[in-house]
């Protein structure tokens, strides 16, 4: 269980995006997160990592959780604290994320080997791994609404 900030944190600020499940809208979430992180003082490298993680989380929600149904929403909640930015991405759960998928570690030599045998072999599976590698804390859960939810935290390092 991640160490969650209290809901009573007086200084926190929340921004919520409700996005259609259509590829391309993940960039709206990515740009919003980037803008917030820069205002908070994150350096360029951390902002780029955040952008990749947020885009992958929203893309997963669009493609898998909501199965590209544009009428279904992806909700992105960005919570700014003094010392960290918390982003939760929630889909409507048309397809549940298998728990073991959250621990996958893609292996490029194996992927290339499979692709050499079958050019149509899956070369993906990097998104969740990127999120885990690039964020300080990551938690995959089922939202109270029943959708898949990923909660990501990036800490602001004090100078």
């Amino acid at each position: 269980m991640l160490n969650k900030k209290s809901d009573n944190d007086q200084n926190k600020k929340e921004i919520e995006l409700r996005l259609p499940s259509k590829l391309g809208y993940e960039k709206v979430a990515m740009d919003t997160a980037s803008s917030l992180a820069r205002r908070m003082g994150f350096d360029g490298d951390r902002v780029e990592s955040l952008k990749t993680a947020v885009s992958e989380a929203v893309t997963n929600a669009i493609e898998h959780g909501n199965q590209h149904d544009a009428a279904m929403k992806v909700v992105v909640l960005l919570t700014v604290h003094d010392d960290e930015l918390v982003i939760s991405v929630t889909d409507q759960g048309r397809q549940a994320l298998q728990a073991d998928r959250t621990q996958d570690v893609p292996n490029l030599p194996e992927i290339l080997h499979q692709a050499s045998l079958n050019p149509g072999a899956d070369k993906g599976g990097w998104g969740i791994w990127f999120i885990r590698e690039l964020m300080d804390e990551v938690e995959f859960t089922t939202a109270p609404s029943g959708g898949n939810q990923v909660r990501m935290v990036i800490h602001l390092e004090q100078p």
Partner: protein
């Protein structure tokens, strides 16, 4: 929980195709210029450009990235497909022009073992000549 400060409700169309791909020759290197986002929408363009230079006999191929603010995991999967074909066709592949972040992503994935990473086109072309 307090009400959110901003609510953005989207329901319109989104521009999907934000990549321009072109090919050219410099010395013995076939250069594929990739300007823009490399996502799932890039697959046909990138594969077509690769097939074009391969049909022309290219043995050294440079993927020259420019203004690539957004390369996602689907884009990485497309590039893995190119690596597969490069290996199959006994070609040599390099990449140039990636931002520091995407150079890090390429190294994380392991693509740097299959394609030399250069800062820019000049450096890459010189690297092929060595």
């Amino acid at each position: 929980m307090a009400a959110p400060n901003v609510l953005v409700q989207g329901n319109g169309e989104m521009l999907e195709d934000e990549l321009t791909v072109s090919t050219r020759q410099r010395d013995d290197v076939a250069i594929i210029d990739l300007v823009g986002d490399v996502t799932t929408f890039a697959e046909e363009k990138i594969n077509s450009a690769y097939q074009e230079v391969t049909a022309q006999g290219a043995k050294q191929i440079l993927l020259n990235f420019r203004q690539n603010d957004y390369i996602n995991s689907a884009g990485i999967a497309i590039l893995i497909g190119i690596v597969t074909e490069v290996n199959r066709n006994n070609q040599k592949l390099a990449v140039s022009g990636l931002s520091q972040h995407f150079q890090k992503i390429f190294r994380m994935v392991g693509l740097a073992q299959y394609a030399d990473i250069y800062q820019d086109e000049d450096e890459a072309v010189a690297g092929f000549a060595k």
